[in-house]
Symmetry: C2
Subunit: 224 residues, 2 copies
DNA sequence: GCAAAAGTGTTGTCGGTACACCCATGC
DNA sequence: GCATGGGTGTACCGACAACACTTTTGC
């Protein structure tokens, strides 16, 4: 009934972030290579301990800046993973986060971290800790949010064609969509607006360029 | 860039639980009265620190048993609240949980806690910490889950009439539903099955009694 | 017999899905 | 001129919302 150990060592609080992007029609996640035991050589999601004067969301943003150079991206809290065995070295819960970036960002690869890179979100390499479970959960949540919010704005560049938007949706949802229905629906709910410009340079007929009408998180019904 | 304080005091991990029930057509939440400063006399959600050998969900269940006598209820993790100022006494993040009980459970009121009771979830008394925000978030999530899952089974007794089920839905959603459409939909998706008995004793025509077909969390479409 | 809750059917509308063709450009 | 992705219109179908009356019991 009473606490068994009065002065037990503290339970730590960390954050981890699953950062996604869509490139070449594929959903990809950002991973770092670990350099120290016990997970030497394995890959992991960026993250770290939180500080006293910040929320977990702020910690997630700070860790991303420090470890990857990414800033100002779309980010939200996901779930707290707390299996006592999740970290073999220290008792530590992890508040997992989901983040999205457009495909044209550049990573800072110069510093102490041995390697950093984008990997297929559906078939990642072997991951440290419980990061495989975190990644699976993040993909699931992203799929769900895509259906009833406008989060896609955080995954695409400022301007894009409807074909590019559709391919981003297809990459995340993992299934093909009907172009005619997709375009009609996207326009019906005023998700995007024309910029007046055309995508030239590629072969074939140039597509009209669009931008998102609102570039902050909003609930909006699209696509069952 | 580097950690400012190498040996900063640890950030604690606690859990809090918003326990709901529906009684007399109203959504109610379980609150405890605090006995110690700085929130003496205010009410709070049940909760406490986690231990080293348990997940946050297990900690939530354990705290509920210790503080309220409730056990074996429906429970899920909600969100982690981490404002550095949320607890004026100790730096501590709280992993909030949502729990549901049927209206006929009894609370243990005998021990050290000065008071415990059910309050209207929409108009609670003055709450300690950030528990008002946690409660609001929990109500929002409960409403959402009611729409696409069968969680209502955790709020109703073993047997109930369709009228009672509808009133529970109306209490949580905060709006009236059409009886004919409600009954048709509930039966169409095989949410419930007849027990063959009737609700007698009240005045007026007795209703048939039903039970939920499955009494574990399942996704099922009901009610826009 | 009357008050009150239980229970049942039909119709119109809207949104979703399925589907085929013409258009504009680069090569 | 042809291959390729861009872009548009229609028809069917199912789900949902709106709506009124009969039934059964306790008092």
């Amino acid at each position: 009934m009473k606490e068994p150990r009065i002065h037990a060592p503290p339970v730590g609080v960390a954050v981890d972030v699953a950062v996604f992007t869509v490139r070449e029609g594929r959903l990809e996640v950002l991973l770092l290579r670990m350099t120290r035991p016990p997970f030497e050589g394995k890959w992991c999601l960026p993250g770290g301990r939180i500080r006293h004067d910040e929320t977990v969301e702020a910690a997630a943003e700070r860790e991303l800046v420090e470890k990857t150079g990414l800033s100002g991206l779309w980010l939200e809290q996901l779930y707290t993973f707390s299996d006592p065995a999740r970290d073999p070295q220290a008792r530590c819960v992890s508040v997992a986060h989901l983040a999205l970036v457009p495909p044209d960002v550049s990573l800072r690869t110069d510093d102490k971290y041995s390697a950093i890179g984008w990997f297929p979100a559906e078939r990642p390499p072997s991951l440290a800790f419980d990061h495989r479970a975190i990644l699976s959960y993040a993909v699931k949540r992203l799929r769900a949010k895509l259906e009833y919010t406008n989060v896609a704005y955080a995954l695409l560049p400022e301007q894009f064609t409807l074909g590019e938007l559709q391919r981003a949706y297809e990459a995340i949802l993992g299934r093909a969509l009907d172009t005619r229905n997709f375009q009609r629906k996207v326009r019906a709910i005023d998700l995007v607006e024309e910029t007046g410009e055309l995508r030239t340079g590629q072969a074939h007929r140039p597509g009209r360029l669009f931008r998102f009408r609102v570039r902050r998180p909003v609930e909006i019904a699209v696509l069952t």
